[in-house]
Structures are given as C-alpha cells and as structure tokens.
C-alpha cells in the first residue's frame, strides 16, 4: 500500500502548521516574559537612577571645583610635587638597593622552601626512629643517626632564614624611609578629598560612563530576566515593621511598606524639586529622616498615610486623588480607579493630617498638624461630642447653656424666634439651625416645624424651675460699663461683633469665640438677669465655664447696663404663628403611636388639654432632636445622646454610609464633607415620614472648617498601632490632662501657654487706643506688657502650692494691669491637674523643698547693696510690700513680697542671670551679660563673684516679704467656700487709685492651712 494513503492528514502541511504553532508559542512565551518583566516601578527606578547620576555628577564637579580653590589643597599639591621630585632624584640610588632586595627575596623563599621540606622529612624520620626503637633496636642506631643529621640541618636552615629575613628588612627600611614623607602627604590628601572619593565611588557604581568594563558588563546582565533574582539594580525596596500589624481580618501580618520602591528620594533632601514620585518628603524635620521623631525605618509610610504598603503599582497601593482635577489626570495617566478591597485607603492630601490622630489622640494640640488641630477644636466648640459619642471627649462638659431656669432669663417669644432661626439673632452663633433645612423646607414641613417649636418652647418654660434674681444696687452707668467690659478681659472669650463677617478659620479666632458674641443682650434678656449672672455665673448655671470676675456691685451694674444696651431690632416683633391644635394632635399622635395603638393614642389625646399636649410633644421633640445633649434640661438628666458614635468613624468603609440618591463620589471623606455642608442632604429624593427624617442640625461651616472637621473625623480610627502611640507615662498623662482643662477653660484666651494663645491681645490694644489715649503704634508696642503674662516656664518658676492656691483663688500679682485673672469654679481635680501639668511641662517635681534661709549679716548687707539704687535699683520697677515704684505703671513689676511663697528659689537665680533666656521680650533688664558672665557683675561686692552676688540678692529678696511687706489694708482670711467675696472691697480698688489697696502680700491674706482642704492637696502620684 502507498505510504501516503495510510496518512489521514497531509504530513508536510501538518509540519508547516506545527512550525507556525511552535513559533506562535515561542512568541507568546517571550511576550509573557516581557509582560511579566516590565513592571511600573522599574520605569521609576530607571528614571530615578538617571536623576541620581545627574545629581551626583553635578555635585562631584562642584566638590572638585571647591577643592581646587582651597588654598590648603593647592599648597598640599605643591608639596606633593616636591616630594615626588625628590624621590625621582633618589631613584638611581635606590635602583641598586631594590635589585638587592629582589635577590634577597628569591634567596629567602628558596631557604624557606627547603626548611619546610626538610622538616617534613624530619617528622617522618622521627616516626621511623621511634618505631625502630620499639621493634628493631639494631636498625635503630642507623635511623637515629639520620635523625640527628636532619635535626642539625634544620637548625642551620633556621639560622639562615633568620639572617636572610634580617637582611631583607634592613634593605626594605632604607627604601621605605625615603618614601615616608610622600606617604604622609598622600594621607593628608585623602582626608581632604574624602567627600570627592565617596562621590567618585558612587559614580563608578551607577554611572555607565565611569564604570570599569567588568562593572559595565555586570550592570548590563544583572537586570536581565531570570538572572535578576541574584542582585539586580532594580528591585523592590521594602520596610518591614514587625511591631505594626495589618489586620487582614482572619490574621494579623506585619506591616510591609514598599512605597520607597518608587518614592526613592523621599528621605534625601537633594530631591526637593524633583518630580513625583521622587520628591523629598516636605517635612523631613518631623518625618522620614533618621533624626526626626518618625524615622522611616521605624514608622514606614502607610501607618500615617494609609494605603496598601505591599502594593507595587499605582492602583494597588490605593492612592487617593486630592481633587477632581487630579482624579481626572490620574485616570488619563495611570488608568486610576478606586482600589475598593483595601479598608484603609490613602488619605487624600487635604486630609493627610488625619493620620496623626491615631497615635496622638490624647493630646489637645498636635504640633505640626494645624488642620487637624483646628478640626478638633471645631468639634469641641460645636459640641459634636455631645450628640456623637467620641472616646476622646467622654468627660467633656455640655457645650450649651443650662435651660432649667429659662423664664428668668428670657421670654417665650424670644425663645421661639431663636429656635426658628438662631442665626438671624446672632450671625455667628454656635447654636445650629434645626428647622427650615433642605429636608424640611416644604410648606407642610414648615407648618409642622412651627408647631414643633411651640411645643419645645412650652416644655422648656413649663418644666423650668424658679431662679431668684437679686436686686441691683444702682441702675448702672453704661459708659463705665463699657470700659469695664473692654478692660477686664471679657474679650478673651467674648466679642461684640454686630456685623456679619466670615469667621477666620484659625484656632486663635475660636479662642475669641469661646463665649457667645455679646450682641442683642437687650433683646434676649434683662439687665437684672445680666447683673445676677455676672455677679455669680455658677449660681445660675452650676456647670458653666464662665468665671467670676470679682466685680463690685456697682461695677456689675455698670457692665450689665452697658451690655443690655445692645439690641437686635425687630427680632421679637416678628409675628409668631398661632398654635395649631390639629398639627399638635398629629405630632402627639405620631409619638404615642409608637408604643400605643392608634385608638389608645387618640383616647389619650382627647383627654389632654392643649398645654398638656404641647408639653408632651415638646418633651418628645427634645428627645427626638437631642436638645438635651448640649443643654441641661429638666427630665433629661441621664438620657443617652442621640448621634452615631464617632470614635471609630474614620474606619467606616464607604459601603456603610448612606449616599441616598446623591450623585457624588462614594468615599467617606466626600460623604462627611457633604454631610457637614448640608446635614440633611441624603434625604433628597426619599419619601420619609416626619420622624424618620435626618435631624442633624446645620452649623453652616465654611469650606475650610468643613475640611478641618473631616480631617479630624477621618482620624478617628480603630486599631491604632500600639507600639507607636505616645508613651502613657505619668508625665505625658499629666500634660494631656492639663491641656484638656486649659482648652475647656480657654486659658489661652488670655495667656500664652506652650507658645500659643494670648487671643486677647488685639482687644487690649484696642482698649489702649480707646480708653488709655494711646496711639496705634504705642498700643502695639505696649500690648504685651499690659496683657496677661506668658506662662512659659511657669512650672519652673512658681511653687506648686502657691499655684494651687492661686488657681483656686487668684490674687493680683501685677496690680497695674487692668485685665484680671478671674476666679474659676475649678474643682480639686482641675486644680491638681493644672499644677501637675505645669510641673510636668517643665520637667519639675510637683513639690520642691523650701529652705528658709538665715542670712549671715555680711551677706544681708551685700544683698541690700545690690538691691539699692546704687546698684540694680530693683525697687525702681518692682513693688516692695506696700511701696510702689516711682515710674509709670506700665514699667511696674511684681511685688517682692510675693516672692517667698510664690517663686521657686532656684528659678530666681536663673531669672536674675538671664531673664531674656527664660522669657524672651521681658521688661526685666539683664544685669549680667550672658556672653561675658564672669566680668559683668559689680567688682566691689563679694569680691566680684557673680554667682555669689546673685545668690545673695535672691536670698535678700526672699526676706523682703516678712520685713518690708507691711500692709495698710487689713488682711481678710478667706475660705474656698466663699471665694467670690474676697475681691469685693479689699482687692479690687476703684479705678482712680489702682494699686495702693490692691497690693496684698499673699501669705498674709490667705492662710495656707485654710485654703487647701486636706483632701485637695496635690499629690505627686500621677492619677490613674
């Protein structure tokens, strides 16, 4: 049979198909390799290498030019040349020597060789000899002889080798000696060119133009596919963080950050202006750099920034665009899309500070995270934490005023208008708007809202309790009142700002808004109420943070008379819609229907009077809207807040947020932004019953404020990396606790603490111009000296016990200041926390031992001299007991009588030595020159020993309280139970004769034992 017929297919044709198929497979395999090999990050690494070569070349050239210009280098070069020439001249002499050395070396090696061989023969013979001795004694003598000969030979050889070695080293030395100088010079050159040779080595490693041939070949080969497993140029860089775990749900894995694979210049300051992804980190002083608080090796990148550290391409790392434009750009450039499956996507740049919060949650302000700080402060100010539980703010006071005595303060009409639209009364109020919002501005909702407000007002007035208003002694003089309000320090927390203006999105601005804008008080309340409020705020509202300014009755009346002048015209005159019983019935029915049947509810409603219905509906509505979260309201003492808990809100994935029918980006930050801009927006397009509607009120935040708050919310995450959280030491805890109280009571409204605050200063400058007849420029230069003091170093400066007493019951230290430290309603916890805070801040123990100095007479005279007019003339500025300084009051300084109880003795020494170092810009002159300390004191006292002089002066000052601190004013002991009474007559004088009666040395006024109840004494133990 024919071969061909046995074949079903045409074999040559199959062969061709086979060939083509094989080629196709080959091609696809090559393609697969290429596709697998070409990774996005390799492109970046290549680009970075070129950049690096370029930078290194430039630096290399610059270094060389710099070196060439150095005179030392030029001199060295000359010396080198001379030395080289010298050696060249000696060259002919040395030739003979070198020849000899060569010969000697040959001889030497021959001898050593022979020695080695002979020794091995000797060892063998030794064995033979020993064997023979044991087995064949006759033969032994012959072998023994051989052995002896060999031993002799070895001894000779050893001698010869030693001689040859000695010869060689003497010859070698003569050669070496002639070159020592050159070698030293070369060594010197090396130290000079160290930097250059580092760069040169680097270039040789990376720059193909500078490489050796072997390196060039290696460079070409090492990155080829398959071979690149060994030691490639381009490889994934990673930082493994064993102490930070990524939660991948069913297990925890160490965090691995590969970001530096592409972001190659992140830690190198040379790449500041390089394009992304090579740009240097913008804050190397805080992050990434080795000596920063967050070095790259310990923190990585994603623990702060979020994102997927293990990813090695643009998308799988969960990059997030900062804006819509950037998103569009990325989509075009990288085919960017959201990487949904990663729970912690990167924070978009505007919210990047959110990453700080997880570890710094305890701090009140986080240095370097200004937006986050603003966000947190806005959350505090707006009282978000009142409705939304936030762990950080668990113990914070309610942000709104007490409403239990409302009728004594205002009218039903005012309350109605206020609830309807708070901003029409006070444009910058922090009370948010509940009604007429985007989901409740249709006619039906508006009609219902009107009745709801009626009901709430009814409840508030019905359930309130009596508050007895004390009578005013006089009707008050508004003119005087204006000056009191302007000068005493009210403007640290309040403003009087009738015009609508955009709030500055700064924390300083928020400090000035700590209390309400004092407009429209005449419309809102009465002079009598204001009088009673100012006289003792805690009587009306026990939880208030408004302090007592210790005003006299007349002053209080004046201030009340002034404040009540400001009215919002027509606010109370707008008509209030009548109560509509039908709608009220419906509201009551809606609420009752939740627990009772429709018929039962109807029957119950039929039994109630209109007022009862209103009160009932009001109570339910207050619960519904959560008014009680911010305000103290009767009947809601222990009710839980209504909002969603926000403690871990930043970890919520977008899937758990209801975007409703709003067409927008589905990401948490976009949702929070939208929610803050219009809290009711996600109701749009939904059909809901009135009580199902969203009810978060509108604060009308500006874009900047919204962004700051969203930053803070995004920072509220679960699973903070425990190993990186700021250590929970007693010191840190004390500082955090103190910061919290300082924030709550707005201490920074007046004082500068930790370098921040002093918000009152512009108001003081204004007062100087308006009431003290200063020019604008004078006011600016004077303002720091007539403002409340900067509290830098307070812990070092004052004694804890004094600070405790002072905070409890302040006494004037700087009587020339108009602005005064008010009496706060601090409890023992507050006081202890503050004392500990200041001590911890300056690294002091809370208590230091107080040594009572008995001064030897000669030291006393020396101190007296230094104090006197002839030397430092301390009394020129400082008040001493009841003696006032002669100059104008803005030059005055604190009373020495206070020093013994108030100041820490060691601080006084530091202070006299160099006041500028402790408090830059202080009025206190430098008597001793810190630059030239040893010769700056007067020579004729204590033999010119400066340290002794200062000590003696300090000791002298400490005696002053007793000896010269006699008082004209009678001392009045006070107790903590009646702190407000102290100030009335004794301490606060009339305006004409400011200081005389006011100067009260502390230890005479307040007997220590009485002020500090035993259980209130600050303890050195940290609170747990």
């Amino acid at each position: 049979m024919d071969e061909q017929q046995e074949r079903h297919y045409n074999i040559p044709k199959l062969n061709r198909i086979f060939a083509i198929a094989s080629l196709v497979l080959l091609f696809t395999i090559i393609w697969m390799f290429a596709s697998d090999y070409s990774r996005e990050w390799k492109e970046y690494q290549r680009a970075f290498r070129n950049l690096e070569i370029e930078k290194t070349r430039v630096r290399y050239d610059a270094e060389i030019n710099k070196l060439k210009k150095q005179p030392e280098f030029q001199a060295l070069q000359e010396k080198l040349q001379v030395a080289q020439k010298e050696i060249a001249t000696q060259h002919s002499n040395l030739i003979g020597v070198q020849e000899e050395i060569k010969n000697l070396e040959t001889q030497n090696s021959l001898l050593t060789q022979e020695q080695k061989l002979t020794r091995s023969v000797l060892d063998a013979t030794k064995y033979e000899y020993e064997e023979a001795l044991r087995k064949d004694p006759e033969h032994a003598s012959i072998v023994g002889k051989q052995y002896d000969d060999l031993e002799k030979k070895i001894a000779n050889l050893k001698l010869a080798v030693e001689q040859s070695d000695a010869n060689l080293s003497t010859k070698q030395k003569t050669v070496d000696d002639s070159q020592t100088k050159l070698k030293e010079l070369e060594k010197e050159e090396k130290t000079l060119t160290k930097q250059i040779s580092i760069l040169e080595r680097k270039l040789k490693k990376i720059d193909p133009d500078q490489m050796s041939v072997a390196n060039l070949v290696a460079d070409l080969i090492r990155d080829q596919p398959i071979i690149d497993f060994a030691n490639p140029n381009y490889k994934i860089e990673q930082i493994v963080l064993k102490d930070i775990k990524d939660d991948v749900v069913f297990m925890e894995v160490p965090k691995v950050d590969r970001c530096t694979t592409c972001h190659m210049g992140i830690a190198n300051p040379d790449y500041k202006n390089a394009p992304q992804p090579f740009t240097t980190h913008p804050h190397l002083e805080l992050f990434v750099a080795k000596d920063s608080p967050h070095p790259l090796d310990e923190f990585g990148c994603t623990v702060c920034h979020g994102g997927r550290g293990r990813g090695t391409d643009f998308i799988s790392t969960a990059h997030k665009p900062s804006s819509d434009e950037q998103k569009k750009k990325w989509e075009a450039k990288y085919h960017w899309h959201d990487f949904k499956s990663w729970e912690k996507p990167m924070y978009p740049m505007p919210y990047v500070e959110a990453g700080c919060f997880q570890c710094h949650a305890g701090q009140t302000t986080i240095k370097g995270a200004e937006k986050l700080n603003l966000g947190l402060q806005l959350i505090e100010k707006s009282g978000c934490y009142a409705c939304h539980l936030i762990d950080k703010y668990k113990e914070w006071p309610k942000p709104g005023p007490d409403l239990t005595h409302l009728p004594s303060k205002t009218t039903k009409e005012w309350t109605y208008h206020w609830l309807q639209d708070p901003k029409s009364f006070r444009h910058n109020t922090w009370m948010p708007s509940f009604f007429n919002q985007s989901n409740s501005n249709d006619a039906e909702s508006l009609a219902r809202s009107e009745q709801e407000i009626h009901a709430i007002v009814q409840y508030l007035f019905e359930k309130s309790t009596e508050f007895s208003l004390g009578n005013m002694p006089t009707w008050g003089d508004p003119k005087k009142g204006e000056e009191i309000v302007a000068s005493l320090g009210c403007f640290a927390c309040h403003q009087i700002q009738p015009e609508k203006s955009k709030r500055d999105a700064t924390r300083q601005a928020l400090r000035r808004e700590h209390g309400p804008n004092l407009i429209g008080l005449g419309t809102k309340t009465t002079k009598v109420w204001l009088y009673n409020w100012l006289k003792d705020p805690n009587r009306y509202h026990p939880e208030t943070r408004m302090p007592n300014l210790r005003l006299t009755d007349e002053e209080t009346a004046d201030a009340a008379a002034y404040l009540v002048q400001n009215e919002v015209s027509d606010f109370n005159n707008t008509a209030i819609p009548a109560v509509n019983e039908m709608i009220i019935d419906k509201i009551v029915q809606d609420f009752l229907g939740k627990t009772a049947t429709q018929d039962e509810a109807k029957a119950q409603i039929a039994k109630m009077s209109l007022d009862e219905k209103l009160t009932m509906a009001g109570g339910k509505l207050i619960a519904h809207y959560g008014c009680y979260s911010c305000h103290t309201i009767k009947g809601f003492e222990n009710v839980k807040p209504i909002g969603t808990e926000l403690t871990q809100e930043g970890s919520k994935p977008a899937e758990k947020l209801d975007f409703g029918f709003i067409d927008m980006e589905h990401s948490p930050h976009a949702w929070f932004t939208q929610k803050l801009k219009d809290p009711r927006i996600f109701d749009r397009g939904k059909i809901k019953a009135p009580d199902e509607k969203l009810r978060m009120p509108n604060y009308n935040f500006s874009d900047e404020e919204t962004e700051a708050i969203v930053t803070a919310i995004l920072g509220f995450v679960k699973d903070a990396p425990e190993s990186k959280i700021k250590p929970r030491t007693a010191k840190n805890l004390s500082i955090e606790e103190g910061q919290k109280i300082i924030r709550q009571f707005n201490c920074q409204g007046c004082h500068i603490i930790e370098g921040e605050g002093g918000a009152i200063q512009p108001a003081i400058a204004e007062w100087l111009v308006k009431f003290d007849n200063r020019t604008e420029n004078e006011a600016q230069s004077l303002v720091t000296s007539v403002s409340p003091p900067n509290l830098v170093g307070e812990g070092k400066k004052v004694q804890s016990e004094w600070l405790f007493n002072f905070l409890h019951q302040p006494l004037p230290i700087r009587p020339w200041l108009k602005v005064r430290m008010p009496t706060y309603h601090f409890n023992a916890t507050h006081l202890n926390a503050l004392v500990k805070y200041f001590s911890a801040l300056d690294g002091q123990d809370t208590f230091t031992e107080k040594a009572d100095h008995v001064m030897p007479p000669e030291e006393f005279t020396a101190g007296e001299k230094l104090f006197s007019k002839d030397y430092f003339d301390c009394a020129q500025c400082h008040i001493v007991g009841d003696k006032l300084p002669s100059g104008s009051s803005e030059k005055w300084a604190p009373n020495f009588a206070l020093a013994r109880t108030r100041l820490r003795p060691e601080w006084i020494i530091e202070w006299i030595k160099n006041p500028q170092a402790l408090l830059p810009g202080t009025k206190m002159p430098n008597f001793y020159d810190p630059q030239n300390f040893d010769s700056s004191g007067p020579e004729d006292i204590l033999k010119g020993d400066e340290n002794q002089q200062i000590r003696v002066l300090r000791d002298y000052i400490l005696t002053l309280s007793g000896s010269e601190g006699k008082l004209s004013a009678p001392a009045q002991p006070t107790t903590p139970t009646q702190p407000a009474n102290v100030s009335k007559e004794e301490i606060v004088p009339k305006e004409e004769d400011v200081p005389k009666e006011e100067v009260v040395p502390k230890d005479e006024v307040v007997p220590k034992e009485e002020v500090v109840p035993k259980d209130v004494v600050p303890s050195t133990q940290p609170e747990k």
Partner: protein
C-alpha cells in the same frame, strides 16, 4: 435602541423568559412524535443546517456586539471572571449546532436507507502516529499559546483577603456552582444542597441501565432517540447552562434579577410577597384561619406531592408513556419516573414561584421540613 433594550430587559424577567424557553424547547427538541411532527411542519429543524446555523450564529453575535455598546452590559460581560462564561455560551451553541447537524444528516441518510456517516469512518484506517498524536500536539501548543495570551490580557481576578466587613454584593458561587446557587432560591438547603446533587449523581449513574433503546448507537441521530436527547438537553441546556448564564449575567446585588441592559442598583427592592401553598389554600381561597394541626394545614401540599409521585407515573404509563412503560418494564419505569419527576420538580417549582409566588408546597418550619 433604548426601546429595544427596554424590551430585552422586560422579556429577560424570569416570569417571561422561563415559560418562553420551556415551551420553545420542546418544539425545538421534540421528545414525542406529535411534537416532532409539529417541529417538522414549522421547519424548525432547518436550524441544524449550515444556513440556519450561520443565520442564528450571526444574529447571536450581532446581539452581543450591540450589547457591548451599552455600558451596563459591557461592564458585566467584560469582567475577567465572566469572560469564560461568554465563551461558554458560544462554544455550547456551536457544539450543539454541530452535533445536531450531524444527527439530522444521519437521520436523512437512514431514512433514505443509507448507513450513517460514521459507518464510512469505521472503514478507514487511521494511525495513532502521526495522525492522532501529531494533531493533538499541535492543538496543545495552540491552546497553551491561547491561554498565555489570555492571561496577559486579563489578569487573574484575585482580590484582597476576605473581609467580613465588606462582603461582595452579590456574593456569587464559582460559575460551575451557579446552577446550585440558583436552586437555593427555590428550595431549602437540605434539598438543593444535599438531596438533589446526590440524586443527580445517582441519576447519571443509572442512565445506562435505564436506557435500553438499542437504536442510534455509535452515530449521531435525533430521530432514533428523540426522548433521550430531549430529556438530556433539557437538563443540560435549561437547568445547567441557562442557570449559569442567569447566575452570571442576570443576578445582581441582593440576588435580585436584572435585565442585561439594566444598571445594577444596590438599592433595588423587590417585594417579598411569597406565600406557602397552605396559605394560598386556606387564607386566599377558603378565607379561613390556618389550622393549627400541622397535618391538616399541609394536607394540600402532601396530597399534591403524593399525586405527583404516586399517581402521575401511573397516569402517564396509561397514556403518553405507554410505549415507554412497555419497553422499560415496571421496575425500570418507576425508577426512571421518580428520577424524571424529581428533576422536573425544579423547573416546576421555579415556575410556581415566578408565576404564583409560591414559597413552599409543604411548609413545616417546626421540623425544618419545607419543600
């Protein structure tokens, strides 16, 4: 075009498409002589000619290409997980057509008294090497190349570690289990997940013992094995491939049904208005309270089930299945009928659910026994 898409979306609803497919199927693959005659009269067998195949195939591709212009359709069809299912549709269609064409060609030949095409093949001698192995090897190479290219273009759709906080919606089984997952919509897990798969395996194992038709062996033929081919294709095409296609392309978030051109809206809600047979009988028809006695309550369903498995086989044996009964004998016939009726239970239940919102025929949640 929008109207057309809307129309397709509407007829894709199970309530409509399932009855259509069910009726159409038995005309295209007629199991009995009566239906076969109608099939011939309607000239439906013309599908299995070259011309018919090309026309149908072109229409199919045309629809697919048209679909790609729609963003929703494109999104679902081009998803890396779903691309193989698109391939499955085309391959199933092609091989179905190819085998049916050969079957009909053979049927014509046999009708003319000629031997089937395969008879010629048997005469020819073909060597393993090179005719078989060489060709297989070339196929292997080309398939490898195809898989490599595929993997370069469509990266393996691997995802991040599973996360209970973000469960994918819809959560879908692997494609080959989508039929089972679809069954879970209509039956309790013990039935859909345990009993039915077991019965399916035993049923397939028993086919050689049940089928004693000696005709059509060793060659493609439809006419000689109408019932066997029809039953097989019904389960393969309708209850397996169709359900996979439905599960892949038409089941969206919350396992809701979406037309091929519909946006997968996660908020779409469908009324949960399903009722049990007992409720239908007592509350809607008789307007009574449900009896407290379980047996009394479920008596309707129990009777229906008894009738279905007990009376129906007898009735069928006396009427249209008389011939089958005669050929198989009593024992084989009973096993065959039980298997057939159980399998038919699925489409029947699906139909009852879609058409009448029937949740369970027998609902005894007290004993976790729901059918």
């Amino acid at each position: 075009m929008e109207e057309f898409k809307h129309f397709i979306n509407i007829i894709s609803r199970p309530k409509i498409i399932f009855p259509i497919i069910l009726t159409l199927f038995f005309f295209v693959f007629p199991p009995t002589d009566l239906l076969f005659n109608i099939n011939q009269k309607l000239r439906l067998h013309k599908i299995w000619t070259k011309k018919g195949g090309i026309i149908l195939f072109s229409l199919f591709i045309l629809f697919f290409l048209f679909g790609l212009t729609d963003p929703n359709f494109k999104l679902i069809v081009t998803k890396p997980d779903n691309v193989p299912i698109v391939g499955l549709i085309f391959l199933t269609f092609f091989f179905l057509w190819y085998s049916m064409k050969q079957a009909y060609d053979n049927d014509t030949k046999i009708a003319e008294g000629k031997p089937p095409k395969e008879a010629d093949d048997a005469k020819e001698k073909v060597l393993v090497w090179p005719d078989l192995v060489y060709v297989e090897f070339i196929c292997l190479i080309l398939c490898s190349a195809l898989l490599i290219v595929w993997s370069i273009f469509l990266k393996a759709p691997l995802e991040e570690p599973a996360n209970p906080a973000i469960s994918p919606n819809p959560s879908k089984a692997p494609w080959y289990f989508l039929g089972l997952q679809e069954m879970l919509v209509y039956f309790d897990p013990w039935l859909a997940g345990v009993v039915f798969p077991t019965v399916i395996i035993f049923g397939i194992m028993s086919i050689p013992y049940l089928d004693n038709n000696p005709k059509g062996c060793g060659h493609f033929s439809f006419k000689e094995r109408k019932m066997a081919v029809s039953i097989f294709l019904f389960f393969w095409l309708v209850l397996w491939v169709f359900l996979i296609v439905v599960g892949t392309f038409l089941r969206g978030p919350n396992w809701n049904f979406f037309g091929p051109f519909e946006f997968w809206d996660i908020h779409k809600l469908e009324p949960l208005a399903n009722i049990n047979l007992s409720e239908l009988v007592y509350m809607i028809v008789l307007k009574q309270k449900l009896p407290t006695n379980i047996l009394l309550r479920e008596i309707g369903g129990i009777l229906a089930l008894i009738a279905y498995f007990g009376l129906l086989p007898i009735l069928l044996a006396k009427t249209i299945f008389r011939e089958v009964y005669n050929r198989l004998g009593a024992l084989r016939y009973s096993i065959f009928m039980i298997l057939l009726l159980m399998s038919a239970g699925l489409p029947i239940k699906m139909f009852l659910r879609w058409a009448f919102n029937i949740k369970y025929i027998i609902a005894i949640p007290e004993f976790f026994f729901n059918i």
